[in-house]
Amino acid sequence: MPEVDDAKLHEDEQRLKEIIERPKTGRRVSEIKDELGTTMNQYVAVYREEEGLQKAHEVVRRLKEEAKTAYVDDQGTVFNQDVLGAVELGYMLDCSEAIVVAAIERKESRGAQFRVDYPDRNDEEWQKHIDISRNGDDVPHVSYSPVTITQWEPEERKY
């Protein structure tokens, strides 16, 4: 087990305490999670296009704001799944935003992404990884890295 220093522990404790003590003025955590799921399913599944992706991005940004004040019912310290749900919601929102931003960025169709507005694979411009990083920032940063081709040469999918 890696050592966890006290300062970090204290910070996390404060974070949980803050969630537990939020006033019930915002939205329910479960409600936000539900809207996030529905949105991602609608706009960011296999078939994607610019307009839908932009819409999804807007929703995710709004939900990120709303999540800051989202409240939980469970104030206890035993098996508090409610507060766990709130913490996980944060991760879900981060992942969702990374997915949406990368999907908007990649203007071609490849693998599990089918861009209705860019139906073809474009090796010239897009045979590269899109890296999304957060680096402590609230907004994801986009960068690229090259693809290393080993045994299997990429080919056009014909099925």
């Binding site: 409600e31 206890g76 035993v78």
Partner: protein, 366 residues
């Protein structure tokens, strides 16, 4: 969509208050699961409801609960079925599983009971020495034989309602004993005899099961833990001739021969023979006297409840001669078999059945 009335047993260890009931009304299609209903109540009304779940597909074993008093998986119980078994015809009652301490609401302490017992049975394969250089080749039949016990998803539903565990919390229990069969039945394991001796001699081991069938009924995966326990007993007694100090093996033999000889159980003779030896003289064995003395309370109870009558102590129940003959024919057939027949009811049919056979194609095109 239909409305369902859900009644949940809530418990919060931090308030110091006793468990209480909470009702919710949820709206879902009848084919959705009780788990979905609980989650809807949790999401929409009260986030503090504690319930474990993960896969929602009856494979992770997290969501064991009691629905209308019966243990099972919440995600594997359809709402319409749950409604049909509702005691008052309209309220689906969900409670935590039994035989395990409740941590919170529907969440029980699996570590304290279930996992401890699983650890108890050395739940891994002990290699034969020397370890072969290449992989073991295992006959297909022996793998089929342990498949049933391998199907366990560790949900604890069988543990929840095990009658023996209710009276003896130390009983190793259905899930762990089924797990132990998984290795006892594996030809690669080097500890068959050691395992069986251990499980026979442990006063909370294989002979502690009362044959109540509750675990078979409870199991959502068809593991039939009780059947696995009976197989452990048969291998221990018949193949390894383990005569345990708990009198489990002797008790079983006395039971079997009493029925062979008299067609029905002769209750008054059962204990003396289990303790003193498998014959009418058993009760005169010094060993029997001592053991019988310690069983006196049980015997008195049996007398009081009319399970045994003073007259019944002297002679067995009457049964028509031709019926007795039938009973003995069964014994003869079974005992004359060269090999013990073990049914594995989990896998039926053959591999070929899964392939599109030529006849099936012909039928389809006809």
């Amino acid at each position: 969509m239909a409305e369902f009335k859900l009644k949940l047993r809530r418990y919060n260890p931090e308030t110091g208050e006793a468990p209480y009931w909470q009702e919710h009304t949820v709206e879902l299609e009848p084919h959705r699961s009780v788990l979905e209903a609980i989650l809807q109540a949790k999401n929409n009304e009260d986030g503090s409801i504690g319930v474990r779940c993960s896969c929602k597909a009856a494979i992770c074993g997290s969501c064991g609960v009691r629905v209308n008093g019966k243990p099972g998986l919440a995600c594997h119980t359809h709402l319409d079925a749950a409604l049909a078994s509702a005691k008052d015809g309209e309220t689906i009652v969900v409670e935590p599983m039994g035989n395990m301490p409740v941590i919170k609401d529907l969440i029980v302490d699996m570590d304290a009971v279930h996992w401890k017992k699983i650890q108890r049975v050395t739940p891994w394969l002990v290699n034969r020495e020397p370890v072969p250089e290449r992989e073991y080749i295992v006959p297909r039949e022996s793998m089929v034989d342990v498949t049933q016990s391998m199907a366990c998803i560790q949900c604890g539903a069988c543990v929840s309602d095990c009658l023996s565990m209710e009276v003896d919390p130390l009983f190793i229990g259905p899930a762990a004993l089924a797990k132990s069969y998984r290795f006892v039945g594996d030809p690669r394991d080097d500890m068959q005899q050691v395992r069986l001796k251990d499980l026979s001699e442990d006063p909370h081991g294989i002979y502690d099961c009362t044959h109540c069938f509750k675990c078979i009924e409870a199991c959502p995966k068809g593991v039939a833990p009780m059947s696995q326990i009976m197989r452990l007993r048969r291998i221990a007694g018949n193949d390894h001739h383990i005569v345990d100090r708990n009198n489990g093996d002797r008790h079983e033999r006395a039971f079997v021969s009493l029925i062979r000889d008299h067609g029905l159980l002769w209750e008054a003779e059962l204990l003396p023979r289990s303790y003193g030896g498998d014959s009418w003289f058993g009760k005169f064995h010094p060993h029997a006297g001592k053991e019988l003395l310690s069983s006196l309370p049980a015997i008195t109870k049996a007398l009081l409840r009319g399970k045994v009558t003073p007259m019944g102590a002297l002679k067995p129940h009457d049964i028509p001669a031709k019926d007795l003959e039938q009973v003995q024919r069964i014994y003869k057939t079974v005992e004359e078999r060269e090999e013990r027949v073990e049914f594995n009811l989990y896998i039926s049919g053959k591999d070929e059945d899964l392939l599109p056979s030529s006849t099936a194609t012909e039928e389809a095109s006809a």
